[in-house]
Amino acid sequence: MEEFFPQDMFQIFGIGVRDTVVSTWVMMGLVVGIVIIVKHRFPAALEMLIISLSDMLSDLMKRPAEPYLPFLGSLALFIATANIIGAAPMLISPTRDINTPTALSIVVFFAVHYFGIRAMGALEYFKSLASPVFLAPLTLPLEIFGQLSRTLSLTLRLFGNIISTELVVAVIFLLVPLIAPLPLIGFSMFTGLLQAFIFTALAAVFIGEGIEATETDVEANQSTDTERS
């Protein structure tokens, strides 16, 4: 059972490199390779993927998602491949190590503030965090606590779902190694894709919350929507 949890494989300058990190490198190589091949053979497939991602995120954020697509789209692609790569032989899911989800949700935490400041300006953004100014000593700690706790829950949700389904696969594999784990591996891949979707959706919702569209923005978006349709 000890081998189930991430182990140090080798060391670079005294820093341990875990097998999940090596798995991440292999996964990055695979994704880049597949994208290069698909780009030369079927460019329309990539376009379809980007458009469907963009439509999905626009629905979630209730505004055009193009400015946030590079961040959210790469988040979705990374987490989806990281969750399902565990089904491949010799590779393990990078998200099985709690450090990977922690890093991802810290990136989301800072991205929310970055996009908020970029949309509203630094002063306006920090004013919006403590919205009724006379209640600032009460609302500001609550806001900070809410931001930190949702980052923690984002981490634990991804990590817990991945490790629990893979633990179930490992236990069934110990009992019946032949055919029995197959449906559970399929279920684990489905859970991985679902969790990637949920992580991205929550990140989109948090970013949308941080921007807080004014009424004129919403009206402008609605007019562009009607023009598009």
Binding site: M1, F5, S153, L156, R157, F159, G160, N161, I163, S164, L167, L194, Q195, F197, I198, A201
Partner: protein, 93 residues
């Protein structure tokens, strides 16, 4: 009751608490999820035209509800595989 050494006591308490915890952590989210599915099915039957929209919302809501059970599971995994209290008495070599 006979004197127990701290390691045995902690292990015993951990096993009992893990059992109770996973029991509650499975039952309560399952009940709530079942209620969510019930309501969503009623909505789908009443208005079949919004069934697709309801289904995606249902899946997201189910995954969010499921994560409460996952939190319980994580704490119990920590208790069983990396118990911080047990490390105090038997430091890892």
């Amino acid at each position: 009751m006979a004197e127990m050494d701290p390691g045995t006591l902690i292990t015993l308490v951990t096993i009992i608490v893990s059992g109770i915890g996973i029991l509650l952590g499975c039952i309560l989210p399952a009940i709530v999820e079942g209620r969510a599915v019930l309501k969503a099915l009623e909505g789908m039957v009443r208005q079949p035209e919004v069934a697709g929209d309801l289904r995606t919302t249902l899946i997201v809501a189910m995954a969010l509800l499921e994560s409460t059970a996952i939190y319980v599971l994580l704490i119990i995994l920590i208790l069983i595989f990396a118990n911080p209290l047990l490390d105090r008495f038997f430091p890892r070599g």
